[in-house]
């Protein structure tokens, strides 16, 4: 079982969700984050002072899936979230030991 953790542009969340739904991935968890990478932020001016706002709004999407669909899921996310411009984000795959469904208490039932 893997945790696929993607950091995407805020306006790509719906596309990623739709792409995951097409693969019948049942669940996902989404967090508002701010990130910086190659994309260097923008300059803000507040009351005469210039600031480099280096942390830009992104959304982190976490989805835990079984090993056999990982590649499919990654491909779907990358396709849905890409614009080709700097700032598109990352996908990281982390190993997961087990998962539990709180409602049923069952294990490894993602």
């Amino acid at each position: 079982m893997k945790l696929v953790k993607s950091i995407v542009r805020p306006n790509k969340v719906d596309d990623v969700r739709d792409a995951l739904e097409k693969l019948s991935i049942p669940g996902m968890t989404v967090t508002e984050v701010r990130g910086h990478g190659r994309q260097k932020g923008h300059t803000a001016i507040y009351r005469g002072k210039e600031y480099n706002v280096s942390l830009l709004p992104k959304v982190e999407i976490e989805v835990v899936v079984s090993d056999d669909v990982v590649d499919e899921v990654i491909a779907a996310i990358v396709t849905a979230a890409r614009t080709g411009e700097i700032g598109d984000g990352r996908v990281f795959v982390l190993p997961v030991d087990h998962g539990y469904n709180i409602r049923t208490g069952e294990r490894d039932m993602v």
């Binding site: 923008h42 210039e50 480099n52 706002v53």
Partner: protein, 452 residues
Amino acid sequence: MRPMTRTLPPRRLIRSGAFAALAILACPALALAQTPAAPALNTGDTAWMLISTALVLLMTPALAFFYGGLVRSKNVLNTMMMSFISLGFVGAMWAFIGYSLALSPGNSWIGGVSLAFLHGVGLDPTGAIIPLTIPHVLYMCFQATFCIITAALISGAIVERMRFVPYLVFITIWSVVVYAPVAHWVWGGGWLAQMGALDFAGGTVVHVNAGVAALVAALCVGPRRDFKKSGLLPHNVPFVLLGAGLLWFGWFGFNSGSALASNGSAALAFSTTMLAPAGTLVVWTLLDIIRSGKPTAVGAATGIVVGLVAVTPAAGFISPMNAILLGAIAAVPSYFGLIIRARTSLDDSLDVVAAHGVGGTVGALLTGVFAEKSFNGVADGLLYGNPHQFLVQVVAVLAAIVYSGVVSFILLKIIGAIMPLHASADDESEGLDTSMHGEEAYVHTGGSTMIG
């Protein structure tokens, strides 16, 4: 105020041509105190008009919150700025030329330039297009606040994608070439006034006018790129409610202040401005409950605004009980207008057309139905035996629609030929707050460094 709409019979107005002399206060019982020959400054009237003007000015920031709460957080500052900026550019333009074109003697179509740059606009109650009991300069300010908010209202149709500078240019010119003439027609002794059109506080001049310009602007600028693709939900509904609450508060200055005096007419307009939105709110809530079981807060805020819009032309002309009825009736077309619009491809983002265009039209027409001479001292409507008034109202609405539609369209096409109206895909997706204004509305975590 808008005395030309209160004088009677309208026909005589045209024949006699003695336009300014006919400004009679709405409530006959109170009119005795006024000698048209030498109207003196009245401290009570002045007090009411001072605060009314401040109230109407407050409506523009209130609108910023009403609109700003409805957009996504990445566009809230841009949306708010579209209202605030009108206070600067449109306000200055009004002092330069707009006031004179709207409310100085001219012909049936447009005023003259005799009051341009506030020449001759002094502290006495003299020199205005109508007899006053308040300082002339205060009358000018009161009218300024109307022009400012009318221009700002348009922005609701094009938020989240129109570029800021063309918007700024558009409303600044629009306030002179569209608002000022239409105001002249109705309140400056122009042809609609001569026809006897009733518009107490701006159903046609403000709401139909802004609603049509909004429609044209939404079409010229084009829809948001993610319109219909994702849910474009309000980021802060309490701001919407704050805006609605402050708008209602300010609208008492707008409608009741349009009596231009602290008298029975003002009190009547006050009561209708309180009761019509109550009627709309009740009906809107019941429609929500019937349709989905869930009376929404955004719906309540919208209903309040629709009720206020609808009663605007009628405020000093109808009875308080009919105001509840008018508000209740006006809920229906706007309610379903919103639903229908959502199914079309028109991206009138914050539904200016359904709220102000439809609401203003319904209000203007119902003014011709519910007007009651025993309350306004001027004219009866259809329900009180004067179907002619209804026809006059139809003409006034159509005139505003055609003129505002055509000129707004031409203006946007010209501006669009000089600079792009629509933000680039990048700017739009990043959000206009950072791309147009270099600012974020809400910053919590750190991560920014001071440069210069």
